[in-house]
């Protein structure tokens, strides 16, 4: 079964064409992470996994999370909701700049579900030592995040074509 994602940008819009299997798996991954963001316990994703310490001292960082954590998580959850609403899982997806920014954010945070450590603590040689054998899923999230961001940054008058 062939997996692919073709990311193009033109006139301020980002378009992605997925292989049907790629679309199905990726949509399932994002839906799963969206559910886990709203959950707790072993399958939930803690604030300390989503967001690094803001201050050098642990206590001050905990206070920062008390002040901002709920609103920050709500923003991430909202981006997942908007993305999944815009993309029901079909083989084609077209986004404006705001939608592309949402998708990049979603692809970045979704990586947390597959890593053994918080994203910012993973050394290069452990990037593909993932939870539950999710190496390929993690690699797709990382590569697509880069392609979507590159497409979203492109000039409106210069067409971009990127392939995964």
């Amino acid at each position: 079964m062939t997996d692919f994602a073709h990311v193009t940008a033109w006139s301020g819009r980002v378009r992605i064409a997925f292989a049907p299997h790629t679309a199905s798996v990726l949509h399932g991954m994002l839906s799963d992470v969206a559910t886990r963001l709203g959950g707790s316990g072993r399958k939930g994703i803690a604030d300390t996994t989503l967001f690094p310490d803001a201050y050098r001292r642990r206590k001050t960082s905990a206070e920062f999370r008390e002040r901002h954590g709920a609103a920050m998580r709500a923003e991430v959850v909202a981006a997942f909701s908007r993305t999944l609403e815009a993309w029901p899982g079909g083989p084609e997806l077209e986004l404006d700049l705001a939608g592309a920014r949402d998708l990049r954010l979603v692809l970045a945070h979704a990586q947390s579900a597959y890593l053994r450590k918080p994203r910012w603590e993973v050394p290069p040689d452990e990037l593909f030592s993932t939870r539950w054998g999710g190496e390929i899923k993690f690699a797709w999230l990382q590569a697509l995040e880069s392609h979507v961001a590159t497409a979203a940054l492109s000039r409106a008058d210069v067409p971009v074509f990127l392939e995964l």
């Binding site: 989503l50 967001f51 690094p52 310490d53 803001a54 201050y55 050098r56 001050t60 920062f64 002040r67 901002h68 609103a71 920050m72 923003e75 991430v76 920014r101 990049r104 954010l105 970045a108 945070h109 990586q111 890593l115 994203r119 910012w120 993973v122 050394p123 290069p124 990037l127 990382q142 995040e145 880069s146 392609h147 961001a149 590159t150 979203a152 940054l153 492109s154 000039r155």
Partner: protein
């Protein structure tokens, strides 16, 4: 923590965010041209981090929160 204290927002390099991802976040939050954001992302990758101009506590925390929401590793340190 004093509200009128000044803090440097520092954006750190990591092994998971792409250059393009960092540049896109900077373009959104700092409203800079894409070329400047690519250069800033490159600088963060090369030097390990970049500090922004000092801000008072409230705006500095809000900016770090915005960067972290977008998946970047951003921290606060007292302004020199």
């Amino acid at each position: 923590m004093q509200l009128d204290e000044k803090w440097v927002v520092r954006i750190h390099d990591d092994n998971v965010n792409s250059h393009a991802g960092v540049a896109l976040v900077l373009a959104e939050l700092l409203d800079l041209p894409a070329e400047d954001c690519w250069a800033a992302a490159e600088r963060i990758d090369t030097t390990g981090s970049a500090g922004l101009d000092p801000l008072r506590t409230g705006p500095a925390e809000d900016f770090v929160a915005a960067l972290q929401v977008r998946g970047l590793r951003a921290t606060l340190e007292p302004a020199p």
